[in-house]
Structures are given as structure tokens and as C-alpha cells.
Amino acid sequence: MIGSLDYSTLQQLWWMICSIVGALFLFLTFVQGGQTLIWQLAKTDHETSLIVTSLGRKWEMPFTTLVLFGGALFAAFPKFYATSFGGAYWVWMLILFSFIIQAVSYEYRKKPDNFLGAKTYELFLLLNGVIGILLIGAAVGTFYTGSNFVLSDYNSVTWHYTLFGINLRGLEAAFSLFNLSLGIFLVLNARVLGALYLLNSIDFSKTSELESRTRSAVTKNFLISLPFLLYVLISVLVMDGFGFDSAGVFQIESYKYLNNLLAIPLLLILLLVGLLLVIFGVFITVFKNSNKGIWPAGLGTVLVGLAVLCLPAFNNTAFYPSKFDLQSSLSIYNASSSYFTLKTMSYVALGIPFVLAYVVYVWKLMDAKKLTSDEIKNEEAY
């Protein structure tokens, strides 16, 4: 079956696969969101340990998904990988540094003689949750607002944005209100998901105050996120976009993303259903005292993420537009790997459902019992 797919179908399929991985990453940022809540929610060392241990049992999942996202983009869309990572050097470097310091923090935080002290490792977790996710949001925002690069005939990227004579290499993405709003929204959404995850994962029978603080964090962060969400949504509907014609010539088009939503109703449905599921997850947590809000809100985040990543890529749209040189813009058709590589990788991708199946199985097995205070005192804990 895969052998009979044509080149453009494979290119679209691989953007879908990359988008699914990216959307799953957005759900898994509940770990990063939870990290930003540690100092706010925990009032004692014991509560800190409960939160850190709960998150620590999942920290590798977003980390690994991010690595897979990078690997999949490298394999399927190498021109994007080369252009974005090489061009927007500083944005990606800062994101990577935030994940480097996260990776050691869970394991080292409570170990004796840990050199930097527990508070430093907690600060690392906070930085990862705030800066890492904010910049990822800003980077995704450039799919809509464009970047400042030009590609040579040999596809070598040159970045053109200077401030006081310094080439910012992508950091200017954070100067756009749209990009910044998307980044802030992702941070706040991650905090909502983080709080929802903690409510689902921890047995609060001996720490009821922590539970009420966590529940209240869901409400606060959700409400604060709304203006940013609304700004992003309205902007997407009214902004100009970057399209291309049948000859592959890129051009600015009015209401491009609104037109894409109307042309591909499935994306509109994904977006609306996703938003409703997030609201539902928050609603049952706040008003029904449920501890299962993470599941609808998580699924909702995946659906919204999928819509956000697919909207600037389909319907003859440049997913990585260049504001500096429009014709250097990247679409899923001019940035992809060869037909042979995409076909080969598609066979490999048949293994993904198997991977997802054992991830879900092990997750259920490990989370069958909630994390208790006794467990923190007597058994393995971060």
C-alpha cells in the first residue's frame, strides 16, 4: 500500500506524522508546566518531593518526544531542519540548554553531595518550563509570521535581522506579539496540564491543602491564558498568510489561514473540538472536583496542536515563510526528503503504533496506584 502512494501524498503524510509528534509533545509539556508550579504549590519539603517525584516519573517522555520531533523533521524535511536550526541559532540553542539542565535535575536534586544544591536544580526545572516552552511557542509562531532568512542556490541559509549591529539569529521571533502570545499561552496551558496531571497522579489523602492549591492553580492559569489564546485565534483568522501558486511562486495572501480553515474543515473541527475538550477538562476539575481532567484536556491539547501545526502547511501554504526573501520560503513540497526516503521511512513508521501501545501499557501499569506520601518516605523518590 505504501509503495503505491505518490510523492505529494507522502510529503503530506510525513507532515501529518511530524505534526502528531509535535502535538503529543505539547500534551506532554504537562511535565514542564508542573515544574513551573513546584515553588508555587509546595509549602514543605515533603510536598516538593511529592510533586517532583510525580513529574519525575514522566520527565523522559516530553524529552524523548522532542528528540523524536527533531529526528523526524531531519529525516522528512531536511531543508527545514537545516534552515531553521542553522538560521535561528540562538532560539534553538536556548531551548536546548533549557532541556540539558532539566535532564539532570530530577536525578541529582535530592542526592547527597549534589554540588549545586536542591534549589539550583529546582531553578533549572523552572527555567526549562518557562524559557523552553515559551521559545518553542515563539518558534512555532514563526510558521505564521515568518522569519528573516534567505537561501542560496545551494540552499545555504543566511539570516538577516540585526539589532544594534548584532545578528539576533532568531531571537527576534520573541519581538512579535503573536509569537510571544503563542509562547505565553503554551506556558500557561502547560501549567494547566501540569496541575491536572498532579491531581490525577498524587494521593492527596494526607496533603489536602496541596490538593486545593493545585486545583486553584488550574483555574488561575486557565483564566490568565484566555486573553493570549483569544489574541492568537483572532490574529490567525485575520492575518495575511504565505501561499504559493501552481508554479511554486510564493506570495502574500489575505486571510490565508482563515481560508485554509474553510478549505479544510477537518482542521476547523480539530481546533474547535480540541478547545472544547480543554475547557471540559478544566470544568470537571474545578466544578465537579474530578481528578481526571488531564485526559480530556490532554486530548484537546493534542487536537489543537495538530490543527496549529497543519494549518500553515496544507492548502498550498508555506510552513516556514521568509519575510526577508519570499521565494526562499519553505513548503512541505520543496523542503522534503526524496520520494525513496519518505517511502522507506513510511514503512519504518508502521512501528509507531506498537511503540505507542507499550508506552500506554506501561503508563497504565505504573499509574495504577496513586503516588502516596508513604511512598515518598519509604521508597524510591526524587
Partner: protein
């Protein structure tokens, strides 16, 4: 032609070397210690004895500390191809990206998923499922090594691909050839077995310290037995796979072999240098001696390189200036053809842009004639094709000499531990104590041989390192280099301090 800032290229090289070498401090321990933990836990599940559970949990704690920093230092390597080597990423992403994606899908998730069970599942899952999870972490760790080494081997011996002048990149045409590249097979087996060996040396180091201090004696002896058996088998395997790697190098990268031997003039038959003092002033083609001192095994290099005791092994001068008798083309001739290929490629691209089909076809035919020399067209001189000789030579000696010593060390530890006299062997224990450190030297030296020895190529013969970089200023890379140096060094200090503390605390039952 591309304007190349060599200062920037060297900083990019330095940054990649720094991050890769830091990462490689931790990876071999992960590769081997994950299996050792699986062995210890298998014995626990089989015997049901809690002392084995304590041993398992002790080594697992050290594994976890090392694993975390290995993961931290690893993420940058995947993304660094894009951030610092974007020309490379575009030119070979069609081939190189696939192994990295497969690594993510099949190996990293195996590790990440079962890692949580390994550390937090003792009371949440059954004993057998916990053991299964430990094995999955070991297999996942080693699977990840397969794919990154496939990618690395492809750079040393590019196969299964073709250059597409329209897209100006190399594209995969045969996935099986890429995966089963002979260099990849030898590289994986050699690298993973050296990781097993290093982890076994690490266990000897910690256990020797306990024996010297007279602490946790039973745990130390049991650990030594398992590690010595694993280390002995691995070290024998390392020798055989190393021999295969050397053979592959001689067939695919003769310049690297010549640099490993510091050999400027080809020899027939050729002897293997056991140890020497390289003349650092020696340049290709000059009349100076290559060595101040050189002790050689006669005939051995001929056999290692060609499986024949009286065969010719080319030296650096033969490879640079050509040797008509041995049908070796000079680098100058290859550079000339490479420059022609670059010109024809530019003509092809211009003609295609102007939609002139006749000129396009002519340029393509001309380009195809010299296509395989494309990379040489970017070299400025013949001598640029020579890697740094002294560093490659000495790194190979360190790896080779230490690699020959380790089987003896494992055999001695195994023998005296089986006789239950190892704690009394005061002459042996200091060797055990420094064994881990020696393992790091050997392992890092191996990668220096592999990577420094293949300079100036990012992809052998096709793409020099200097055209593989991102169009950055040296200043950008200097800042990130400093940041990596500071952050990684701080994390390394933290890791060592935590590790030493955990070792001094010892296993649970004997606290």
C-alpha cells in the same frame, strides 16, 4: 565558490568535539552498565537472594546518575547537526536523518518508557516484569547506538546513495546498503563491545576500592566475578572487531590508516608500529624522518590491512602525490577534477534556471564525468587531504596498548576472585582502582582515531568539513562553546561528586 571563514569552521569543529567527547564520557558506561544491571537482577530473580537485589539496586543507582547526564549531553548532538552544520544537514539529510529518526522511534522510547519501571517499579510491577524492563532499558540503550553508528559509518564510507544535481544533495537509493554498510557493522560491534568493556572496568574500580578499604567485601567480590566474565568476553570481542575495523579502514580510508601508523612512505611488506616518537615537524613530501624513534612488528600491518603478509600498504606521500606503480591517483589530480565538477554543477544550475535544456544536458553530462571528485574541488592544496598525524598516531597507540592490557586485567581479577584471594592481592587492586580511568582514555582515544583520522572530510571524498558548516560568525560559536564548557563541566563535577558519595554510602543492606 563559497566564502569560508576557517576560524569559524575550527570553532564549530571544537564545539562538536567538546560536546561529543563529553557525551562519550557517559555513553559507554550506560551501554555496559545497563547489561550488568540486567545480569545482576537476573541472578536475583533466579536465586531469590536479597543480597543480589541489593547489588542490583546499588549498581542501578550509579547507572541512573550516569544515565541522566548522558541524556543531558546527548540532546545537543542531534540538534547540533542543524545548528552548526546546516550545509551538511541539507546535503545529506535525505540519508542521515532516517537513522536518527529510527533511533528516536525505536530506541529512545524503549529506554524512556522502561527506565521509569526500572527505578520506580520495584513495588508497582511484578518481579519478572521489572526484570523485563531492566533488559528493555539495556536493549534500548544499545539499539540507540546502532542507529547513530550507522549514520556515522555512512560518513566514513558513503554507500547506498546518489548525488542529485537538481536538488544539490545526496539522496538515498538503497536503505539496506546504508544499514548494512560493512563499516557500520564493524563500528557498532566494536563500539558497543568497548562500552561493555568500559562498564566492566568501572565495576572493577568501585569494587577494588571496597576491597582496599575492607568494606562491602562480599558485594565487591560478587560484582567482580560478573564484571570480569563480561569484561573478558567483551575485551576479546573488542580485539576481533577492532581488527575488522582496521581492515575496513585500510580498504575504505587508506589515508586514515597511514596517519594511524605515521607512515609517509608506502611499504611492502609493511610493519605495524608498536610505539614511536613522531617527528611533529614532518610534512608530506619533505625529506625529514617521520619518527625520532619507531619500534615495529614486521609484516603485521600488511596482514591487518590486506590479509596478506607481503602486500603493499600506501603511505601518506603515495596517497597525496600519487603512485603510478600502485595505481594511486594524486590528490592534485582529484582536486582538478573536483573543481571541474563544481564548475559544471554551477553551469547546470544556471542553465536549468534559464530553462535552456541543451546547456542543461551538456553540463549534466560533463558533471557526471567528475562527480565522484566533487569534494576534492573544495580543497585548496593536496596537503589539506592529510589528517593531523601525531594526534591520530598517539591516540591509536593509547587505544591499542590499553585494549591489549584489559583482557589480562580481567583474567587476573577473575582468577583471584574465584580463588577467594583477590582481597589479599595488594599489587593487583591499584590496577583495578585506575581501570575505569584507563577505560575512559582508551574509549576517547578510539573516537579521536575515528574522527580526527578522517579529517578533512565530513563525508569521505564528497564533502570537506569546512563546507559543511552553518553560515555563522565565529563569535556566535565562541559564546556557545564557552556555555557548553561551563555547563557540562559543572554537571560533570556534580555527577562525580554524587557518584563518589553514593559509592561511599554503598549498597543498602550493608549500610
Amino acid at each position: 565558490m563559497i566564502d569560508i571563514d576557517l576560524n569559524m569552521v575550527n570553532w564549530a569543529r571544537a564545539q562538536f568535539a567538546l560536546t561529543a567527547m563529553y557525551h562519550w564520557l557517559f555513553v559507554p558506561l550506560t551501554l555496559g552498565l545497563s547489561f550488568l544491571c540486567a545480569f545482576f537482577e537476573s541472578i536475583y530473580v533466579k536465586t531469590g537472594k536479597n543480597e543480589w537485589k541489593a547489588i542490583t539496586k546499588f549498581w542501578m543507582t550509579l547507572f541512573g546518575i550516569n544515565f541522566a547526564i548522558g541524556v543531558a549531553t546527548g540532546i545537543i548532538l542531534e540538534f547540533e547537526f542543524g545548528t552548526n552544520w546546516s550545509n551538511y544537514s541539507w546535503m545529506v539529510g535525505d540519508i542521515f536523518g532516517a537513522p536518527l529518526a529510527i533511533e528516536g522511534i525505536f530506541a529512545f522510547f524503549l529506554e524512556a518508557t522502561f527506565f521509569a519501571v526500572m527505578f520506580f517499579g520495584w513495588n508497582r510491577v511484578s518481579k519478572k516484569f521489572h526484570l523485563f524492563s531492566t533488559w528493555m532499558v539495556a536493549i534500548g540503550s544499545n539499539l540507540s547506538a546502532v542507529w547513530i553508528l550507522v549514520a556515522n559509518a555512512w560518513m566514513q564510507n558513503p554507500v547506498g546513495m546518489a548525488f542529485n544535481p537538481t536538488t544539490t544533495r545526496f539522496e538515498m537509493v538503497n536503505f539496506a546498503e546504508v544499514v548494512f554498510n560493512p563499516v557500520a557493522v564493524a563500528k557498532f560491534t566494536h563500539t558497543s563491545s568497548s562500552g561493555f568493556l568500559y562498564a566492566s572496568l568501572f565495576v572493577l574500580t568501585v569494587s577494588s576500592w571496597y576491597l582496599i578499604k575492607g568494606k562491602h567485601l562480599e558485594m565487591a567480590k560478587k560484582s567482580i566475578i560478573v564484571a570480569s566474565v563480561f569484561g573478558l568476553i567483551s575485551s576479546v570481542f573488542v580485539v576481533f572487531t577492532g581488527d575488522q575495523s582496521a581492515f575496513d579502514v585500510s580498504q575504505k580510508q587508506p589515508m586514515k590508516l597511514a596517519a594511524m601508523e605515521g607512515m609517509y612512505k608506502g611499504e611492502k611488506p609493511a610493519g605495524l608500529s608498536l610505539f614511536g616518537i613522531v617527528n611533529g615537524d614532518k610534512k608530506p613530501g619533505d625529506a625529514q624522518d617521520a619518527f625520532h624513534l619507531n619500534i615495529k612488528f614486521p609484516f603485521v600491518l600488511s596482514y591487518l590491512a590486506n590479509r596478506s603478509f607481503d602486500s603493499f600498504v600506501p603511505g601518506i606521500d603515495d596517497l597525496v602525490y600519487g603512485n603510478p606503480d600502485e595505481k594511486i591517483e594524486s590528490v592534485a589530480s582529484k582536486i582538478e577534477k573536483g573543481k571541474q565538477a563544481i564548475q559544471d554543477l554551477a553551469k547546470f544550475k544556471n542553465a536549468s534556471k534559464n530553462k535552456n535544456s541543451q546547456l542543461t544536458n551538456e553540463a549534466l553530462v560533463n558533471f557526471k564525468e567528475n562527480e565522484k571528485y566533487l569534494g576534492y574541488g573544495y580543497l585548496d592544496s593536496s596537503e589539506e587531504a592529510v589528517p593531523p598525524v601525531p594526534l591520530t598516531y598517539y591516540a591509536f597507540r593509547v587505544m591499542f596498548i590499553l585494549g591489549s592490557f584489559f583482557p589480562l586485567l580481567f583474567a587476573a581479577f577473575l582468577f583471584f576472585t574465584m580463588k577467594n584471594t583477590v582481597a589479599e592481592k595488594k599489587w593487583l587492586l591499584p590496577f583495578g582502582l585506575i581501570a575505569g580511568l584507563l577505560g575512559i582514555f582508551a574509549s576517547q582515544s578510539g573516537w579521536i582515531v575515528a574522527e580526527v583520522g578522517r579529517q578533512p572530510w565530513a563525508i569521505k571524498g564528497l564533502m570537506p568539513v569546512k563546507v559543511a558548516t552553518t553560515n555563522l560568525t565565529a563569535g556566535n560559536i565562541q559564546v556557545t562553546f564557552a556555555l557548553f564548557l561551563i555547563v557540562f563541566t559543572l554537571l560533570l563535577i556534580a555527577e562525580i561528586k554524587i557518584m563518589l558519595k553514593q559509592i561511599s554510602i554503598g549498597p543498602e543492606e550493608t549500610k
